[in-house]
């Protein structure tokens, strides 16, 4: 319980200054730190061959984002498929099969970190340190860049949003607005914000016992000579820096298979607190960035208020279900959990890692109480409780546009947001985006459950359905955690998850940017007494209701067939709980 309060207090206390700093970084304000970072940035710009002063239209921004992803993706895919022939492979990891390499690459490129392989055995040190770690650092900053560009678009372009009264620079031929420079946004956020924070976290984690070494781990004889095991080998490695970025960047893919449940990856209650805090720190900081970045402080209140409300409800539900409800009396409570964390810390982590799109775990989600499982799946379906770095706010903007549209219709006025009309073109795109999720998540779940040869679930009954639903919800939400008993290292799972990962990332990031690009070009209607004020508690509740109703309408039947059914079966059977 005390950890819960500490995590939220620290996330808000540290997120506030970090968010304001982040706003300055993304606005490009001059700071004393320019003397350190300026020369590095200018050097990289020169190598990239770009002019940092030039902006981009939303189309230019989106294509730079896609092109950078394509180039990174191809190189990393090839790296995974040829790692056996490359240096830094002490454990002799073999080349990955094309489909597993494709899934792994897409999974890390989309900030998901769903793992259909087992870390130590199937990836070389080179793949881990170059491919995995590189993507874990850069993908959250790509998400951040896209959402900042989207905000600029919604406010009519970069200059307009900064409060400038000067005419917004336009590309005269097409009337497009400047949403920023993709390369500059990503590089500044990475160098000035993410890498220093990650280094700090890496050192803090190393102090608690997370390995940070390139040397091989020790092999020794167990103390008790009467056991069958003759020797134990402890795998070490440069674990601490990777764990730092996996926690901070809503990545989630760990060094060891069972992630932060492993004592080497999460040795003490303090490291657990630091890692839990890191899960929500940047997503919370981003809500505090919104106000100073857009010049509308009350917008932060709306975003933070809605997200915090959903977070408190979800956290309360998970804690109650796992640690305080009657099912917490089950003797199986500690299955998949670690002694040093206990039930409430495990439940706190499970809910926060799915409220954000982190996906790391410190207990095995497969063995959680069924209703805790339902909470985690619901979190991932909403995907904007805090959401991933950047993508969470992006998804929130989708809900914001929808809620503004509905409110406009209900009050009988032309729907608008920040003075710009929401019209048929934008709503069509919104509808497409909303429909993609059930189409992919429910569609693939139904197909996979109907084909037992492909399913690969390790538990019978309702929970077998939960395992499949969880996997696709996690893939589409770019979360990456799983009910890990699933036998998911097959071409069927790899390829279907690639589809879910792909749309869950690129459609969810680019469609709102597209909408913002359309909105940016519209004339601003003057504020009047009839203008919908979005920064009010009433509107916040409307927005949260839209989220709840959408999720329930789309996914309630699936949740009943999975975790809810399992819960009812367990509690009514009675005999199952000794």
């Amino acid at each position: 319980m005390i950890e819960l309060l500490l995590v939220f207090a620290l996330a808000i206390g540290l997120g506030w200054p970090l968010g304001h700093y982040l706003a300055r970084v993304m606005r490009g304000d001059p700071t004393p730190l320019d003397r350190v970072f300026g020369p590095i940035e200018r050097g990289v710009y020169r190598l990239l061959g770009i002019d940092a002063r030039r902006g981009m239209s939303w189309k230019g921004y989106a294509s730079a984002f896609l092109l950078s992803n394509l180039a990174l993706g191809v190189v990393v895919w090839i790296l995974f498929m040829t790692q056996a022939w490359l240096p830094l492979n002490p454990d002799g990891a073999p080349n990955m099969s094309w489909d597993l390499a494709l899934h792994t690459m897409v999974s890390f490129l989309t900030n998901t970190n769903q793992q259909h392989y087992s870390g130590q055995a199937q990836l070389s040190y080179l793949s881990q340190m170059v491919g995995i770690a590189g993507l874990q650092v850069i993908t959250p900053m790509m998400g951040l860049a896209i959402v900042v560009a989207t905000l600029r678009g919604l406010f009519g372009g970069r200059e307009q949003m900064a409060g400038g009264t000067a005419a917004t620079p336009t590309d005269e031929a097409r009337g497009e607005r400047d949403v920023g420079n993709y390369w500059v946004d990503v590089l500044r956020a990475t160098l000035r914000f993410f890498l220093p924070l990650a280094l700090l976290w890496s050192v803090l984690l190393a102090s608690q016992g997370v390995p940070a070494t390139l040397a091989e781990g020790p092999t020794y004889t167990p103390l008790d000579q009467s056991v069958e095991m003759r020797s134990q080998h402890v795998p070490l490695g440069p674990v601490a820096p990777m764990v730092a970025v996996k926690q901070l960047g809503t990545n989630g893919g760990g060094w060891y298979g069972p992630n932060s449940a492993v004592p080497l990856e999460n040795p003490t209650p303090l490291s657990n607190l630091l890692e839990t805090l890191a899960i929500i720190l940047i997503p919370v900081a981003i809500t505090f960035m919104v106000g100073p970045l857009t010049g509308r402080r009350k917008l932060t209140a709306l975003v933070f208020g809605c997200m915090a409300l959903m977070s408190v409800v979800s956290t309360g539900a998970a804690l109650w279900s796992e640690a305080y409800s009657p099912t917490a009396q089950d003797a199986a409570l500690m299955e998949g959990k670690e002694t040093r964390f206990g039930a409430s810390n495990s439940a706190l982590w499970a809910t926060l890692t799915t409220q954000t799109s982190n996906g790391s775990v410190d207990s095995m989600h497969d063995s959680l109480a069924p209703l805790t499982g339902a909470v985690t799946i619901t979190n991932m379906l909403v995907n904007a409780v805090w959401g991933g770095v950047g993508c969470g706010l992006q998804q929130f903007l989708v809900y914001l546009l929808l809620a503004a549209f509905l409110s406009g219709l209900m009050t009988g006025r032309t729907p608008e947001l920040f003075g710009r009309k929401i019209e048929a073109g934008e709503v069509r795109l919104l509808a497409l985006l909303i429909l993609l999720q059930p189409l992919i998540v429910i569609g693939f779940t139904a197909l996979t459950v109907a084909l037992p040869a492909f399913t690969g679930n390790s538990n019978p009954g309702f929970h077998g359905i939960s395992q499949v639903l969880y996997e696709y919800a996690s893939a589409f939400a770019n979360n990456g955690s799983g009910f890990e008993g699933l036998g998911d290292g097959t071409p069927w799972w790899n390829l279907t998850c690639v589809v879910a990962l792909f749309f869950g990332r690129y459609a969810a990031l680019i469609v709102p940017l597209w909408i913002a690009g359309l909105m940016a070009k519209k004339r601003v209607a003057p504020t009047s007494s009839g203008t919908l004020d979005v920064e009010t508690p009433t509107f916040a509740l409307t927005l949260v209701s839209v989220v709840v109703i959408l999720t329930i309408l789309q996914f309630m039947p699936a949740l009943v067939l999975g975790p809810v059914g399992e819960h009812l079966a367990l509690t009514t059977a009675g005999a199952a709980i000794p």
Partner: protein
């Protein structure tokens, strides 16, 4: 310079994408990893190398890795779904509704009850369940307490002496606040061995 004077830079640049890829893989990946590793090793050399325990200059284990124990003279750790192999760390991933989980719990219950001379209902939950990692090095104080009598008998020590060692090796919540109280099984067993060789 006034940015409005500059045209948009909308043409996709392959050069930028390729140089960016190199920056990500070598800068954000390799360089960052090396920097983080170096900092950890220099500032916290013991922790950075696996928190190893040495006796007479020989590595005998790590505080962060459970070892299997079978001898009656030793406290026994929680069940492991990974056979206590740190190279194969894993949980069971069995759901609470899974009959296989209920069956292995029932088997463990009768084994532990018989071994420690307890009624079956008194076996603590963490001795019935596999940990998340398969190498959980800790026991709850309750799960250690039920083993005291058996260990004392097998070693010919007094129950009080074993109890005292158990108390000395019980870690309270960190700073009195964080996490659960726990007993590191390997450290406790090493302390027992040390007490046995020390002249009274």
């Amino acid at each position: 310079m006034d940015t409005s004077q500059l045209a948009f830079d909308d043409r996709p640049s392959l050069r930028a994408a390729l140089v960016f890829t190199v920056f990500v893989l070598l800068g954000c990946g390799l360089l960052y990893e090396l920097a983080g590793t170096a900092l950890g090793r220099v500032l916290f050399p013991h922790q950075a190398q696996g928190t190893l325990i040495e006796r007479d200059g020989r590595v005998v284990g790590s505080t962060l890795v459970a070892q299997p124990f079978a001898d009656a003279r030793y406290f026994q750790p929680r069940p492991s779904a990974a056979g206590y192999d740190p190279m194969a760390v894993a949980g069971s991933n069995q759901a609470r509704s899974n009959p296989a989980l209920r069956q292995s719990m029932a088997e463990r219950r009768s084994i532990v009850a018989q071994r420690e001379g307890l009624p079956e209902s008194a076996v603590p939950g963490d001795l019935l369940t596999a940990s998340g990692s398969g190498i959980d090095p800790d026991l709850s104080p309750a799960a250690a307490a039920v083993q005291v009598a058996r260990v004392a008998k097998a070693r010919g020590m007094s129950v009080d002496a074993v109890q005292a060692l158990l108390r000395a090796n019980t870690t309270p919540p960190q700073f009195g606040l964080l996490g659960e109280p726990r007993v590191n099984v390997l450290e406790l067993n090493l302390a027992l061995d040390a007490a046995a060789t020390r002249p009274e």
